[in-house]
Structure formats: structure tokens, C-alpha cells
Assembly symmetry: C2
Homo-oligomer: 209 residues x 2
């Protein structure tokens, strides 16, 4: 595994964010619109031409592969490409993770029609995605330490409605290379899904430490 990271200054991060965030937002909107459009074949073909033109423009210069940037000030990965929190990945809601001084993490975000499982409800696997991610953030101190999910258990207490949601997570205890984290997905009426996870420091990081 290659975990070499480069640093990005706060200023350069801000420049890239302000340039690329509108692009990701436009793609999120297109994902939603694409799911529910009922326009005829000719209109789809016309839309496709625009999408292909946009692709050709954006392909003119591509970063080679992996996203390994870290914030120069905090040392945390920028995680532009991450499917839960990535500001440049249209798949991500995105979750913006807040880190409290006591190590607790939380995030408030909205899950719209692209995350629907049963009609009107969030797909159970999307609940798992957001909880795996936020438990991992708590266990790894904001992804600043390499920790991998060992085991995660999700208890679905009731359906999670599409719309505004909150996720939170904290570390319960650590034993050697294992960190035990717990968290919740919540709507306005309280918890909908509870998660418990064990996160493990990989052997190569232990050797390096």
C-alpha cells in the first residue's frame, strides 16, 4: 500500500474548493434530475451531447490517479474523492465532519432521492456507508491515523426518512491496536440506526510507529 501524502496549503485548498465545488454540485443535481426525467429520446440525445462536451473539457487535464493530499495545517487527508465526505465526488452527500475537542464527531447533511431504497426511505446500505465513515473518523482522529474497519454492526431501529439527518460517533475504548467506536444516525425524532465498530491499526503503521 502506498500511503505517501502531499501537503496542500489552506489557500490552495480554498482555491481548488471554490473552483471545483460548483462542478460537483452541478453533477449532484444532474444525478437527481437524471433519475426522474421523462423527456423523450431526442431530448435525452441533446442532453447527452452537452454531457459529452463537458466530459471532453474536463478530461483535458486529469490528475494521475489517487487522492493523497493532506491539509498542511492539520495533517488530515483532504479526501476530495471520498464517496462519503468528498467535496469533489458527486456520489458523496457530502458529509462535512465536525470534530469536537473530546474526540466526538458529528455531521448534519441531507439525503435526497439518489439515496432512496424503499420508496421514501434511505437505503439501508447508505445508512451503513455514512455510519462506517463517521465511526472511522472518530476512531482515526479525523483520518489522521491509519485505521481500517475490522468489524461493524448496524442495528436498524426504524426506517430512516429521506431529508435532513445527523450522524455522530465517538470512541468507547482502545485496546492495543483495536479502537472501539459507537455512533448513531438520527432524524428529528432521534436515532434510526445504531452502529458499533472495531477499527484496527494496520501492521505496517505499527511498525512505523
Amino acid at each position: 500500500m502506498d500511503f505517501t501524502f502531499e501537503a496542500i496549503s489552506a489557500e490552495e485548498f480554498e482555491r481548488q474548493r471554490s473552483s471545483f465545488e460548483p462542478l460537483t454540485d452541478a453533477l449532484r443535481r444532474l444525478i437527481d434530475v437524471g433519475i426522474h426525467t421523462e423527456v423523450d429520446g431526442d431530448t435525452v440525445a441533446e442532453a447527452l451531447e452537452h454531457l459529452e462536451a463537458a466530459t471532453a473539457l474536463l478530461e483535458r487535464r486529469q490528475r494521475a490517479g489517487r487522492s493523497t493530499l493532506r491539509h498542511a495545517d492539520t495533517g488530515r487527508p483532504v479526501a476530495w474523492a471520498n464517496p462519503a465526505v468528498g467535496l469533489r465526488n458527486a456520489i458523496a452527500p457530502p458529509m462535512i465532519i465536525e470534530h469536537e475537542a473530546d474526540g466526538t464527531c458529528w455531521s448534519e447533511f441531507t439525503l435526497g432521492p439518489a439515496y432512496e431504497g424503499p420508496p421514501g426511505w434511505v437505503h439501508g446500505g447508505i445508512c451503513a456507508l455514512v455510519l462506517d465513515h463517521i465511526l472511522g473518523e472518530a476512531a482515526s482522529e479525523g483520518l489522521s491515523k491509519p485505521k481500517f474497519t475490522g468489524t461493524i454492526t448496524l442495528k436498524y431501529l426504524r426506517g430512516t426518512p429521506l431529508g435532513p439527518l445527523r450522524a455522530e460517533a465517538f470512541v468507547e475504548r482502545s485496546e492495543g491496536v483495536k479502537t472501539f467506536a459507537r455512533g448513531y444516525l438520527l432524524d428529528a425524532d432521534g436515532a434510526t440506526v445504531e452502529a458499533e465498530g472495531v477499527f484496527i491499526e494496520p501492521a505496517w503503521a505499527r511498525d512505523a510507529g
Copy 2:
């Protein structure tokens, strides 16, 4: 919960699939290209104009909300919008689920850069999404019976590399309203993640049965 479904004939399904699938594929490509583009601000702005034009075209006619279509022949939900299997949801890889006569489900699919967690590896939460979905397919006989995830436990045996993968699931046993399913995510060398889930028939469906 409103679980009213409308039927769609094989012919109409095929017509809609062939019209809309290229659109979803184009969006999947744009998601990937958008993550890694390094073009300058002017080029981003030019691409954005195309994306906004495409959005305006596709918005001309939108289905009202929820996706409740079922195949007229099998009774299974079409699940166009589903974030794991939806042919019209650019977030979905998509998984195409195969159902064996013995109830086993499997799917082969590729997870590219949009699903990356640690550099080069699939995000643990994405592994959870695909496993929650395929266990649910097995437990609900291809989504033909309403079953909700009660509990799911995922054991991460090793990292899951980006690229071609396989998921499989089967029912271990049923006890009253509970169905116990098990499944695996695998690369060419075998299982990377193991999942065990309990799926529950909701009270309203029991009453209706």
C-alpha cells in the same frame, strides 16, 4: 408508508432502459472525470454551462417523486433509482443481481475511483452498501417481499481493491418474521468482507399477508 406499485411491461422497460441508460452511463463517466480534473477555472466554467444546459433539458418533464414500478412479468421492483442497483441512478455501480433457482444471489461489477476510501482501496462503507443490498435481495426473494434490514454485521477480512469484484448472498434460515442471510464480497483471490444480516418483515406486511 405507501408501497403502491405500478406494473411496467418488458417492452416498455426495454424502451426506457435503452433511452435512459446511456444518460446514466454518461453521468457515471462525468462523476469520475469530475473527481480528477485539473483544468483551469475558465474551462470549469465552460463545462458548467454544458451541465446546466443538460439539466434544463432533462428537467422539462420529471416523474413525480418515488419509483414504484414493478416488472409486469416477475412482480419485482424495477428499482431504477436504487443507489446499489438502479440503472437510472449514477451513484449505483450498478450491480446487476442474478437470482439462482436455489435462492442464491450474485453479482459481478466494477468499483472505480468514485468508490475509493484509502488510496487504491474500496471505502469500507461502500463494501457495506453492496453487501447490505445483496443480502436484502436474497432475504426478500429479489425484493418481491417487503423485508427491512434489522441488523447487519460486516467483518473486513482484508482490504478490497478497486476494480472487478463479485458479491454473493444466500438465506441461512428463517424464524417467524426473521430471515437470516449471509454473504461475501470477493476479489479474484477470494473473500475480502463477510456479512451476516437479519431481515424483518414489517408489521403492515404481516397483517396484509
